[in-house]
């Protein structure tokens, strides 16, 4: 596993980085099943590479250069948010309001075809807090054998097909009638999986339900307390963190929780069907959950979900259309990619 960051930018975001470096060293030492190493793209290192500028393309080149020195890197963990390791700004394949698709996919690809990942890539956002970052590296998964799901009322049928992978569809809650006013934090506690198929906005930290023309606030950061498990959200901008703080991004609020081990979501406008069969975000999240259930690491689960998603789309239609491509590019994983949501398959991530 390669753990990659920019030292100067990281210091600017979180101040003294020594506690984080200590946690990373402890993390590396604790991983007997695979090798891991920390590199700063802006500092001289043992591989004598030319330092990279704080630009996504340059940082990706830096990763490829390290690969040429040490062999293939299966797992890549980016430390920091957009201000430290910038997201790629990719042309938006869809005709919608997003100027760019913010994406980590190029970091997961060795060639220029970014839609299909070859390695695992995840990110630990900085949250402008050193304790937030160190917390992500020491998380452990408890097992509760329960899940929680929340769907916009209009997408109940579609959500049911996804949620079936991790929970009893009869337990799936819908908004409305659920609103943030009645939302009980306890619903998110002692759970293995948290699933959200709701509306989101770049300009709001809340997620929204829908029934016909009614759009209530379904959940907001204040509703989250001691939540647990693996989170997957289909909300538009569910993983949008640019210029956001822990308190005004659901993804960061989730990760702040001691027992939330990972967050999978979209950086931009996401799409899905109203009813089965699952497609776009629904299908990707369904596959992600299925792999986590099988005992793969979170990072492998998202990578495999993207591969399966692409294969399914090609078999269905013979091509990846605009929204298929956008789905593949926009979904990111936050958290430790080597952690498992469920005990089972023990295949290890390799450093080379």
């Amino acid at each position: 596993m390669l753990i990659l960051s920019g030292k100067k930018a990281l210091q600017k975001q979180i101040g003294d980085i020594r506690p984080l470096e200590k946690s990373i060293n402890e993390y590396i030492k604790s991983k007997n099943e695979f090798q891991a190493l920390l590199c700063y793209y802006d500092m001289p290192g043992k591989y004598r590479l030319k330092r990279a500028k704080k630009q996504a393309e340059a940082i990706r080149d830096y990763v490829l250069q390290i690969e040429r020195k040490i062999g293939e890197i299966d797992f890549l963990l980016l430390l920091g948010g957009d201000e430290v390791v910038p997201f790629f700004r990719l042309p938006n394949p869809c005709d919608d309001a997003d100027e760019w698709v913010l994406s980590d996919s190029p970091y997961a690809s060795r060639d220029e075809n970014y839609t299909i990942p070859e390695r695992v890539c995840a990110r630990i956002p900085d949250g402008r807090s050193v304790s937030f970052m160190t917390r992500q590296l020491g998380k452990e998964k408890a097992s509760y054998a329960k899940s929680f799901g929340l769907s916009a009322h209009v997408w109940l049928r579609a959500s049911t097909e996804v949620y079936r992978a991790v929970g009893n569809p009869e337990d799936l809650k819908t908004s409305p009638p659920i609103t943030s006013d009645e939302f009980k934090p306890g619903w998110l506690q002692h759970k293995d999986f948290l699933y959200f198929n709701v509306h989101g906005s770049r300009n709001s930290s809340s997620w929204y339900g829908q029934r016909e023309n009614e759009y209530p606030v379904a959940i907001q950061p204040a509703n989250i307390n001691e939540a647990t498990g693996v989170v997957a959200s289909e909300a538009c901008y569910g993983a949008y963190i640019v210029d956001k703080t822990i308190d005004d991004a659901m993804s960061l609020t989730m990760l702040e929780q001691k027992e939330i081990i990972g967050f999978c979501g979209s950086t931009t406008i996401a799409y899905g069907p109203v009813q089965p069969p699952a497609g776009e975000a629904d299908l990707l999240v369904k596959y992600f959950f299925e792999y986590v259930q099988q005992g793969l690491t979170l990072g492998e689960s998202l990578r495999n979900a993207k591969l399966d998603f692409a294969r399914k789309a090609l078999r269905r239609h013979g091509f990846l259309d605009d929204d298929d491509q956008k789905t593949l590019l926009q979904f990111v994983l936050y958290g430790d990619p080597a952690i498992r949501g469920r005990e089972g398959n023990k295949r290890s991530p390799n450093a080379d």
Partner: protein, 93 residues
């Protein structure tokens, strides 16, 4: 086969019936050739026959206001194949 006004009206009626929130919205219509995606097939080790496809897109958009006054962009997209059959209908999340 070229998309025509009759087919567009049929789809608009279907959308009005099944997705009433998009009733009376005039869709933006686009069409696109999709060439063989050789590199993607190769990267996935798939041997699907290569072919040129032609698709049509009807995009219905509106902006709604959530309960807390936040604006939400709502998008519904209908994709048709060369034979003007609906391949899929998707909505923004």
């Amino acid at each position: 086969m070229q998309i025509n006004r009759n087919r567009i009206e049929e789809i608009k009626k279907k959308i009005a019936r099944e997705y009433p929130e998009f009733k009376d919205i005039e869709p933006r219509i686009t069409e696109k050739d999709i060439g063989p995606q050789d590199e993607i097939f190769q990267k996935l080790d798939m041997g699907v026959p290569k072919q040129l496809r032609h698709i049509y897109r009807l995009k219905f958009t509106k902006v709604v206001e959530a309960k807390d006054s936040v604006s939400l962009d709502r998008i519904l997209m209908v994709t048709l194949d060369e034979n003007l059959e609906i391949i899929k209908i998707i909505e923004s999340r």
